[in-house]
Every structure is written in structure tokens, then in C-alpha cells.
């Protein structure tokens, strides 16, 4: 079904992605991620000694600070911090450095739709840059459902406001393995089909939601390829002075 999007993209097309790591010098790890006009900067400091008061000292602790572009910190920022914290806790290996705190600071540079997924991608790349041990990467994507029922990926802010509902989905990155395909399946599904995080806004039917999941999984494969190329390329540029 032909859908007219304002910037001429097709339904499943993502905006141009750009990611650069090691851009801040005092932070232990940093990354800047942009999807079209949405740009987010993430910095990682850690692991630092000690955990916060109510946290389990037998595991590493993750702390997220979200800074909006303008305005005071309110409930939406606290919600983003909580979602980011739980998502990153599930991808980091917390038993490697017990009784430590890793702080991730996210600064919104520009918000043009799909802000939370961009922030999750930026934070993940910053963690890679800092060398924090992780099980796998988190690949985040935004899917919108329109009133007439079609699904588009990676909306701009205008598109997000016009849509009936949207869902932010985070998947593990796709796996390229030398092992035979059957051995990496859980309950008959490949590992990268599992959802790490899902946040939805607006009303959609259950069938629409499962359709979004399918589209999101397909897009996460493309995003994983982009991440893989980006990480391999920068690791060969080892002559960059820190």
C-alpha cells in the first residue's frame, strides 16, 4: 500500500543514521547518535566505587540522568530515566563489577521524533565506547500505527503527533553465528526476536501491535548491521588520539 510521507520515505524506511563515539574527552565513554534531525548525546562515567542506598551491593548499579534540551526536569524525564535504566541493566553484565555505580548522562540536542529510541541507541554505543561488559547490544526502534491501520517506522515529530498510536521497541542485536541455526533458538524463536523493552502510547488493536513487532524486528536487523559496520570501522581507526 503506497503511503505518502512528507519527506518522501517509504513505510519501512529509516531516516539517515549517524553515530560517532569518543567525542567527549573527560567521559570514560561517549557517543552521539542522530536519526534524521533527532540528535542525542550520551556520556558514561564509571564504574565508580560504591552503590546508592537502596541498591543491591552484590551487583553493579546503573544510574541514568536525562537532560532535556530546554525546560525543567519533570515527570516525563523521570519516566525516560527509569525506562533507560531498566533497559541498560538488562543488557549489562552486572555481576562482573559488584558494588560499583556506572552513570549514564543523556543530553537531548534536538528532538524530531523517536527520541527515546535514539537515546537508548546512543547510551548503548557510549557503553561500548567505555568498555562496560554487556551481553548484547540494545537496538531501539519506533513504530507508529495510523488511523487507517498502516504502520510506519521511525516517525518525525509531526508524524508522531498525527498518528493514532506509537510503540517504542527495543530488541537485542541480530546474531551472526558459526553455529548451526537450530542451536540458538529459545522456544522455537531466534534470540533476537525477544523484546527487551516495549513502551506504547495511544490505542491500537492487539493485531496492530503484533504487526508493529514484526516490522520492528525487520528494522532491528538493518540497525544491527549499521552498528556492526560502525563499530568495526572505528576500531580500525586506532590512531585517533583520545
Amino acid at each position: 500500500m503506497e503511503v505518502d510521507r512528507e519527506d518522501g520515505r517509504s513505510q519501512n524506511q529509516l531516516r539517515p543514521l549517524a553515530c560517532s563515539r569518543n567525542i567527549l574527552h573527560r567521559a570514560h565513554g561517549s557517543a552521539s547518535w542522530s536519526q534524521g534531525d533527532t540528535k542525542v548525546l550520551a556520556a558514561v562515567y564509571g564504574p565508580k566505587a560504591g552503590t546508592k542506598k537502596n541498591e543491591n551491593p552484590e551487583k553493579a548499579c546503573i544510574e541514568v540522568i536525562w537532560k532535556p534540551k530546554t525546560g525543567q526536569i519533570g515527570k516525563p524525564e523521570k519516566e525516560y530515566e527509569m525506562i533507560l535504566k531498566r533497559t541498560l541493566e538488562s543488557i549489562c553484565i552486572l555481576t562482573v563489577n559488584p558494588n560499583t555505580t556506572t552513570s549514564i548522562i543523556v543530553q537531548v540536542v534536538n528532538d524530531d521524533g523517536a527520541l527515546l529510541p535514539s537515546a537508548i541507541n546512543a547510551a548503548c554505543m557510549a557503553l561500548v565506547d567505555a568498555g562496560i561488559p554487556m551481553k548484547h547490544l540494545a537496538v531501539a526502534i519506533c513504530c507508529c500505527v495510523a488511523k487507517s491501520g498502516y504502520v510506519i517506522l521511525d516517525p518525525t515529530k509531526l508524524e508522531e503527533q498525527k498518528m493514532k498510536a506509537f510503540a517504542y521497541l527495543v530488541f537485542p542485536n541480530s546474531v551472526r553465528s558459526v553455529l548451526p541455526e537450530g542451536s540458538l533458538r529459545v522456544e522455537g524463536e531466534p534470540i533476537e526476536n525477544g523484546i527487551i523493552t516495549s513502551v506504547t502510547h495511544g490505542i491500537m488493536s492487539v493485531a496492530d501491535y503484533f504487526y508493529c513487532l514484526e516490522r520492528g524486528r525487520a528494522a532491528s536487523v538493518k540497525l544491527s548491521d549499521f552498528l556492526r559496520r560502525n563499530l568495526q570501522q572505528q576500531s580500525t581507526d586506532s590512531s585517533r588520539a583520545g
Binding site: 537502596n54 519533570g74 515527570k75 516525563p76 523521570k78 519516566e79 527509569m82 525506562i83 535504566k85 531498566r86 533497559t87 541498560l88 541493566e89 538488562s90 498510536a165 510503540a167 537485542p172 529459545v186 522456544e187 524463536e189 534470540i191 526476536n193 525477544g194 523484546i195 527487551i196 523493552t197 516495549s198 513502551v199 506504547t200 502510547h201 495511544g202 490505542i203 491500537m204 488493536s205 492487539v206 496492530d208 501491535y209 503484533f210 513487532l213
Partner: protein, 291 residues
């Protein structure tokens, strides 16, 4: 381990409590193998739910909701719509981890989730809150106080908010000579034409109901207590409205990845729960109207 004959023997009872504190995950896993939970609930069953006025209880989690109405001028973009402001408070009474100077981390998150769910579900038509188009409209302040936090905070908060809106009666007001809205005393006494004839209730369409589940390995536990939530960190909240549309599916991270089968099971459990909650809400409302 003596779990089956823990009733009589004091020494085995002490062992069970110690085991529960020292190895909580293994304690739970022993129960999950028998498809039961320590409070003798089957895995898919929620705790006992009661609604009295605007006090909702699911198991021990207790929430009180109160609505205050105020007249305000509507915004220019929506001159014939009122407004709802939702806030969720966790006073120190609810849990030992909440202290007066240190607000609970969960409070602003649940407040925002509630606000998003209630406004996006379309339960309340904001045009019903309008008084005089362009000049005056109702602003409803919904405050929810958590009195006892024992898991499934969002479910109980949503239930108490829905109960509060079901009981809400909009007072009779009239426009006085200065163009201000004042409360009318009684029908006959006032010589001014009242804006609305009688105290009316808000019409609620497509009420949202929710169920929180915890995922652990292959098990799905519905309606967790605070203890279960703290040990097993993967929490999924599904909100469905009365026509089975998905209002929200909230899964913030967690060690367990959710595959399609797990999500379908959670949605199926939520559908059952919606039917139970609809019955409980109807009984509570009809109980109130008898008074």
C-alpha cells in the same frame, strides 16, 4: 526442607522463614515447580480486589483517589474542552523505603503512566467538562494516594481512578452578573439560570483495565506482590479497554526477553482480568447508588 509440614513444627517454621530471607529466588522456584505461589495462589490468578467508594484494594495494596473540580478558562486551541490533571503520591505511610525527604522513584513514573493511559484511552470526553464555550470549563484534579504499597501499584491506581470518576458528580453552577461562575444553592432559590440543571455524572466510555505480570524463566506470574517484584525484575503491564483494544503494553527492560508466546499469554491473562474487574466495578457502583 519441610515445607509441607511447616504448620505444626516450630523448628521447621523458623527454617522456612530463614530460607525465604536468605535465598528468596530459590524459595520461589521451589513453589513455581509445583505451579503455586507462597500465598497459595495459582500463577495466573490476581489477588482479591475490592472497591469501596474511591478506595481500591488489590490484596494489600491500597489506594485512595480524590477528585477536586475547579473552574478555569479553557485554552484557545480547545475552547470547548475541560482539562484533567492527574497526580500520584506515595506518602511515607505506604512503604518503609519512602522517607519524607526522599520521594519514591516509582511515584512520578506511575503518575505519568496513569496520566497517559487515562487521557489516551478516551475514557472521558473532555467536551463534557465544558461549561461556557470559550469562557469557562471544569478542571478536574485527580489525586491518588498510595496507603500501602505491596506490588502492582499501577493496577490499583488505575482502578481507584476509574472508581473515582464513576462516582464523580458535577455540581450545579450558574453564571452571575460579573460573568463569573458560582455554585448554585438550590434549584428554586436562585433567580439566575443555572448552567447545568442538576448534578450529573460523567459518561465513561471504553474504561481501561490493567494487569501487571512478572516474567521469570518460563513462568508468568500475574499480579505480583512487592516481594515478588523485587526478586524477579521483569515486569510487564498490559492495559486493555472494554473493547479489547490495547491501550498500553509497558515492559521496561528486565533480564527476561519477552517472546511472542509470552506476550500473547500476558494479553490473554489480562482479558480474563478485565472481565473480573468489570464485574467488581459494576457491583461497587450499584452499591453506591443504593445509598
Amino acid at each position: 526442607m519441610g515445607l509441607s509440614n511447616a504448620s505444626g513444627d516450630l523448628s521447621t517454621e523458623v527454617e522456612v522463614d530463614a530460607f525465604r530471607c536468605l535465598f528468596p529466588l530459590r524459595f520461589y522456584e521451589k513453589h513455581l515447580l509445583e505451579s503455586i505461589r507462597p500465598d497459595a495462589r495459582p500463577l495466573g490468578r490476581a489477588r482479591e480486589t475490592t472497591i469501596a467508594l474511591a478506595l481500591a484494594k488489590i490484596g494489600s495494596t491500597t489506594m485512595l483517589a480524590a477528585i477536586k473540580m475547579e473552574v478555569m478558562t479553557p485554552s484557545l486551541e480547545t475552547p470547548d474542552e475541560g482539562c484533567i490533571a492527574i497526580d500520584f503520591h506515595m506518602p511515607p505511610i505506604c512503604s518503609p523505603i519512602v522517607r519524607p525527604g526522599r520521594p519514591a522513584e516509582a511515584a512520578p513514573v506511575v503518575a505519568k503512566q496513569l496520566s497517559d493511559t487515562i487521557l489516551s484511552s478516551g475514557m472521558i470526553n473532555l467536551k463534557e467538562l465544558s461549561l461556557v464555550s470559550g469562557k469557562a470549563a471544569w478542571m478536574a484534579y485527580l489525586d491518588i494516594y498510595c496507603l500501602d504499597a505491596d506490588g502492582a501499584l499501577f493496577d490499583t491506581a488505575l482502578l481507584s481512578a476509574v472508581a473515582a470518576f464513576s462516582h464523580l458528580e458535577i455540581p450545579v453552577v450558574s453564571l452571575n452578573d460579573d460573568g463569573k461562575i458560582v455554585l448554585s444553592e438550590e434549584q428554586g432559590l436562585s433567580d439566575r439560570e443555572p448552567v447545568n440543571k442538576e448534578k450529573r455524572k460523567i459518561n465513561l466510555s471504553s474504561i481501561p483495565f490493567s494487569l501487571t505480570c512478572v516474567l521469570h524463566k518460563n513462568y508468568i506470574l500475574a499480579d505480583p506482590t512487592a516481594e515478588e517484584e523485587s526478586i524477579m525484575d521483569t515486569i510487564v503491564t498490559v492495559v486493555l479497554d472494554s473493547s479489547s483494544q490495547l491501550v498500553s503494553l509497558h515492559k521496561p527492560g528486565g533480564t527476561v526477553l519477552a517472546y511472542t508466546s509470552a506476550i500473547q499469554d500476558c494479553i490473554a491473562l489480562t482479558r480474563q482480568r478485565v472481565k473480573e474487574l468489570q464485574k467488581i466495578l459494576e457491583e461497587a457502583i450499584s452499591g453506591m447508588e443504593v445509598d
